[in-house]
């Protein structure tokens, strides 16, 4: 004996809403898992950031040799690797090359402590570096009118 085909049951509005929410939730979870990857950043150790305006004179000295390799910090077995690290804390062989902008040089502080002996790029007073390029002029948008000043 054959049975008459049952007509397709229509979804109610509530069921449609639940269906859409489930699809969106699935997409969200998948996206979150894909995009949430740890990024390599420099950790903040609480040391104040170097000020670009800090007047530091740089003697004409050769770029210092890298510090002896520092062992990588011990990682707890159950936690992920550190997300940020000072360049100086990396072993010499793993330290990335830092290219100084024209007219700048990379130098070290006086190394008074292990913590502060980090490489930094410092600006140079133009009068103290013969090999620095000439300054770039800046355009000034005002009527040229002179004001005297002692030279």
């Amino acid at each position: 004996m054959t049975e008459r085909a049952q007509p397709a049951r229509k979804l109610t509005a509530l069921e449609w809403r639940l269906y859409i929410i489930a699809v969106l939730a699935t997409i969200y979870v998948i996206s979150w898992r894909v995009l949430d990857r740890p990024a390599a950043t420099i950790a903040e150790t609480g040391e104040p950031a170097p000020s670009p305006a800090e007047p530091v004179s740089v003697a004409a000295e050769p770029i210092p040799t890298p510090a002896p390799p520092v062992p990588a910090p011990a990682q707890p077995a159950a936690t992920a690797p550190p997300r940020a690290v000072w360049l100086d804390d990396l072993p010499a062989g793993q330290r990335p090359v830092v290219v100084a902008p024209p007219g700048w040089t990379i130098t070290t502080r006086d190394g008074a402590s292990q913590r502060t002996a980090s490489q930094r790029i410092v600006s140079q007073q133009p009068a103290s570096q013969l090999s620095a390029p000439p300054p770039r002029p800046i355009r000034v948008l005002r009527a040229p009118r002179l004001r005297t000043r002692s030279s």
Binding site: A60, P126, L130, P134, V140, P144, R145, T148, S150, S151
Partner: protein
């Protein structure tokens, strides 16, 4: 108008009738000139030719450019009866100006001993062989004179009208952007936000000498960069500021310093002997006096 930094000062270049690209090109040429001159003649650059001379223990051969500079200095030393003297480098260093100036950099607690007096005549110059020999206590420093001279060199190829201003030593070529002359505000040395008087300048150079901008503390006293060659110590003139107008920026700089060191009375006498000079003298009470060929803009 363009500005850049050289010789530890702000340099401004303007050629108002040029288009932006041409004005920029002219500015770049001026930058190169200042940079080249500074590398050769700065006493703060250890590898400059001037530093080599100041560090030499015996005779040293110098460049033709250095001989030319020293020859120009000799002329100014004679014209000012020694009040202009580029051999004050040792006195400047002893007064505390032993490194590039910026506010606070030269402050120190102890008073430095007065240096032995040396004069330009103590410098031995063989112009033909280009050999210079100096006594150990003599240090050369060209200071503002070099700024003025470099401004003149840049202005030699400048269009008209144009303005080249290096830390106050300026050449104003032509009659300004609108043909009525360049306007120059003479700053009040005691109150830099105020203007003492406004001048109208055409085809002349201007320079100002005053101890207010480069001052530092030594113990309980205040020192400044205007060394009186007669004493080897910072000047104690009754003038607070002198602005001189002259045919060249080099002359304006030399004579501004000279008049300030001379003081009000002898400074006026000095200016009266030179018809091509004009000046604005400002005393410590803020009073000003116009001397010579100077056009003042009505307030």
């Amino acid at each position: 108008m363009w500005t850049f930094r050289a010789m530890n000062t702000d340099v401004t270049v303007a050629a108002p009738l040029l288009d932006e690209a041409d004005e920029h090109a002219f500015t770049l040429a001026t930058v190169d000139l200042f940079w080249t001159v500074e590398r050769k003649f700065s006493r703060f650059l250890p590898q400059s030719e001037l530093s080599r001379i100041n560090g030499a223990c015996s005779s040293i051969q110098v460049s033709a450019e250095m001989i030319e500079l020293l020859h120009a200095c000799a002329g100014h030393v004679q014209a000012t009866a020694g009040l202009f003297d580029p051999t004050i480098g040792g006195a400047l260093a002893a007064a505390g100006y032993d490194r590039t100036f910026f506010p606070g950099a030269l402050d120190r607690d102890h008073v430095l001993p007065a240096p032995p007096l040396v004069r330009f005549g103590d410098l031995r110059i063989d112009e033909a062989a280009r050999i210079v020999r100096r006594p150990p206590e003599l240090l050369l420093d060209f200071g503002g004179f070099l700024k003025g001279r470099t401004v003149d060199r840049a202005a030699a190829s400048a269009p008209s009208p144009s303005l080249i201003d290096a830390g106050g030593d300026a050449m104003l070529r032509g009659s300004g952007p609108d043909g009525s002359g360049w306007l120059v505000d003479v700053e009040d040395p005691a109150h830099p936000e105020r203007v003492v008087v406004t001048l109208r300048v055409c085809d002349r150079a201007i320079a100002t000498s005053a101890p207010n901008r480069r001052r530092w503390r030594i113990g309980a006293t205040i020192a400044h960069h205007l060394i009186d060659p007669r004493t080897g110590r910072p000047s104690t003139s009754d003038l607070a500021q002198v602005t001189v107008l002259a045919p060249t920026a080099e002359q304006a700089d030399v004579f501004a310093k000279t008049v300030l060191l001379l003081g009000a009375r002898d400074g006026r006498r000095f200016l009266a002997e030179r018809a091509d000079l004009g000046a604005v003298l400002v005393d410590h009470d803020g009073r000003h006096d116009i001397v010579g060929a100077v056009e003042v803009v009505d307030a």
